[in-house]
């Protein structure tokens, strides 16, 4: 009996990791792409919230959740573009602009989203991978949203793309050493704007996952800092898309473990449980960082590591 319980506990934890972790996959891949080009966008938090709102709103208006996902991506793209363009101006600090973008994005979403708190939007469907099982818990754990698989595929594609395609090399070169990229005839500014906008698109989609699938409603407390957490996550993952995927699942599991433990009767220290991913990231950074050397895999042009 105890064994069975343990198995179901871990199944539940895995399911929780996927449910909670999927937005992290998108936001962290977006941030990874942005940072690979040598910029950091702290504004993904604002983009995420704007994405969640515009996705929900459009799904409400059109009746199609997928058009909501697309709208969320486009809203993210626009805000990402704004970040990319403004930070291309001389003397603009990307961290400061990111924080301004958090404010702006959040304000925009809350302002325009007021009238969409009450209506019910159509939700994204889940794929029932567990239809074979009689156990409702297994079926529920294995009903996974399509966006999760898209996220996994995206991580693989980005991993391969950054490593072995021309544009991947160009992006990394721009992030590593803009002058050499310039000397080779690329235009670092344009590459960065493109990378930031694409990152914004992905973060917007991550927001749509929140409002259109899990937890699946639009309100002002929807995000609990997933966008900012993604910045830490990318460092945790050492700027590698595949590791971002694992890290996102790990962060998701960390978010799911508190409730899961309480459900089996262990309820002490739930605040510290929710801080676990931060403590973990800090520890990993502390152990692996060395003075006078940048982090392994860190883009050389990143303001974070200079």
């Amino acid at each position: 009996m105890a064994e069975l319980d343990l198995a179901s506990f871990f199944l539940a934890l895995l399911a929780g990791a996927i449910r909670v972790g999927t937005p992290f996959i998108f936001v962290s891949l977006g941030e990874c792409l942005t940072e690979k080009s040598g910029r950091i966008n702290l504004g993904l938090e604002g983009i995420l919230i704007t994405g969640a709102m515009s996705g929900y709103a459009l799904a409400c208006l059109t009746g199609s959740p997928w058009s909501g996902v697309f709208a969320a991506g486009c809203a993210g793209l626009l805000l990402g573009l704004l970040h990319g363009i403004v930070c291309s101006l001389p003397r603009v600090n990307d961290i400061a602009f990111g924080i301004a973008l958090i404010l702006f994005g959040t304000g925009l979403a809350f302002f325009l989203g007021k009238s969409f708190i009450q209506p019910q939007a159509p939700m994204l469907p889940a794929i029932m991978l567990g239809a074979w099982s009689d156990d409702e818990r297994v079926r529920s754990a294995l009903s996974i949203n399509v966006l999760f698989f898209i996220g996994v595929a995206l991580a693989v594609v980005l991993h391969w793309g950054l490593r072995s395609t021309r544009w991947g090399l160009m992006l990394r070169l721009v992030g590593e050493h803009a002058e050499s990229a310039h000397a080779l005839g690329y235009r670092p500014v344009l590459v960065r704007i493109g990378a930031t906008a694409t990152g914004g698109f992905l973060a917007g989609v991550g927001g749509a996952y929140l409002s259109l699938y899990y937890p699946g409603s639009w309100n002002e407390g929807l995000s609990s800092g997933q966008g900012l957490m993604a910045v830490a996550l990318v460092i945790f993952a050492r700027w590698q898309p595949l590791r971002c995927l694992w890290a996102a699942l790990l962060f998701g599991a960390a978010g799911a473990i508190g409730p899961a433990l309480q459900a089996v009767g262990i309820s002490a220290g739930y605040y510290l449980f929710s801080a676990a991913p931060y403590i973990l990231t800090l520890l990993v950074m502390f152990v692996t960082c060395r003075p006078n050397r940048t982090l392994n895999g860190a883009p050389g042009e990143l303001s974070l590591t200079r």
């Binding site: 404010l103 304000g107 925009l108 809350f110 605040y271 950074m285 960082c289 060395r290």
Partner: protein
């Protein structure tokens, strides 16, 4: 220099304020456009923002009250920035400072009000300074990036704060709002005067900005800092104690944020509880960047931000606009500020050009005359 004709002279002194002014104008225009497109009364909204922020004595009280903690949390960003560090974890230092101040009366009970308040100020500064100091230390010793480190440490501090306030440090009598035991009446900080309801945190904030200005601008330490912030290698070459300087700015910055926490406890909340986590740290980052990390500028920018936040109430009650309206205005203001500031480099070049031209002409006139 000061014998230049009046016009170019005024232009030259007014120029540094120009990007800020342009940002103000353009962000308000965009704000009006945003509201106008939706058919909301945009002009009236702008008028109410002004009225709610600066239109009456009460509005000033409201604005200054909100600005007080922002000045201190902004210094938590600005001081390390002078040594080239970007610290964004002021919120963590604030809550820990608040917690330290709130528990001091429990550890050393029965002190007279003044020593107790001074003691509370000291421990809060110690707690905040230590927390941000850890950031500086981790960066200098381990090369751990201070921006992300401070963000993580801030989250950890808030979790720690919640755990302690709802666990071992909770006052069992705080039934529905877990808090530390309330401060005795004597240990509460009142308003500046009964007729001007702004607490002493404002004085502390202004004073801290002035002191920071003196430190950065007029002291040898400040001069060394500028070298460190400009180029660490040069600083090391001339033998400056880089690690110690970086650590100093972090500790001082953190101490300011911690002090903000102490004032929130002793002048506003009366105890430490979750209401302290109100985003003062994040607003402080914006204030610091808007002021270009210049302490006197921080005073102005904090008042500006405090004013916008104060005006939100009036916008809701008079026009039925959502509370997020002020967030939009703040967001616009800061994005515009950063964008306009980017043009500052170019304006700087015009300034040089203007100056040279007039100097040349003045010299020529002097020769002829």
């Amino acid at each position: 220099m000061n014998r230049l004709p009046l016009l170019p002279r005024t232009i030259r002194t007014a120029l540094p304020a120009l990007p800020t002014l342009l940002a103000l104008v353009s962000s308000f225009l965009l704000f009006m456009l945003f509201l106008g497109v939706q058919g909301k009364p945009s002009w009236e909204a702008c008028r109410l923002v002004f009225e709610g922020a600066f239109g009456s004595v009460f509005a000033w009280e409201n604005t200054l009250q909100r600005a007080a903690p922002l000045m201190l949390t902004a210094l938590c960003v600005a001081l390390p920035a002078h040594a080239g560090l970007i610290i964004i974890g002021g919120e963590g230092a604030l809550v820990l400072g608040a917690l330290a101040a709130a528990v001091l009366p429990r550890i050393v009970p029965g002190l007279a009000p003044l020593p107790m308040l001074l003691g509370m100020g000291c421990v809060s500064m110690l707690a905040g300074g230590l927390w941000i100091g850890i950031n500086g230390w981790m960066r200098q010793k381990r090369g751990l990036n201070e921006t992300i480190g401070s963000l993580l440490l801030s989250y950890i501090a808030i979790a720690l704060f919640n755990q302690l306030v709802e666990g071992p440090l909770r006052d069992p009598a705080s039934l529905n709002k877990p808090s530390t035991p309330p401060l005795a009446e004597d240990y509460l900080i009142g308003p500046l005067s009964e007729s001007f309801q702004v607490h002493w945190g404002l004085v502390a904030g202004v004073l801290a900005c002035v002191l920071a200005h003196v430190l950065v601008r007029y002291s040898v330490t400040g001069f060394s800092l500028r070298i460190v912030g400009g180029n660490v290698r040069t600083a090391r070459m001339v033998g400056l104690p880089v690690d110690r300087l970086v650590l100093l700015t972090c500790v001082l910055g953190g101490a300011c944020a911690g002090l903000a926490g102490m004032f929130e406890v002793s002048a506003v909340q009366g105890s430490a509880n979750a209401a302290l986590i109100a985003g003062y740290g994040v607003s402080g980052i914006l204030v610091a960047f808007a002021a270009r990390h210049n302490p006197p500028g921080i005073i102005v920018c904090a008042i500006l931000l405090g004013g916008i936040e104060a005006s939100g109430s009036l916008l809701q009650r008079r026009l039925g606009l959502p509370d997020a309206t002020t967030l939009i205005l703040e967001g616009l203001l800061f994005t515009n500020l950063l964008a306009w500031e980017a043009l500052w480099g170019r304006i700087g070049r015009w300034r040089l050009y203007l100056g040279e031209r007039y100097e040349r002409r003045y010299a020529m006139e002097a020769q002829h005359g």
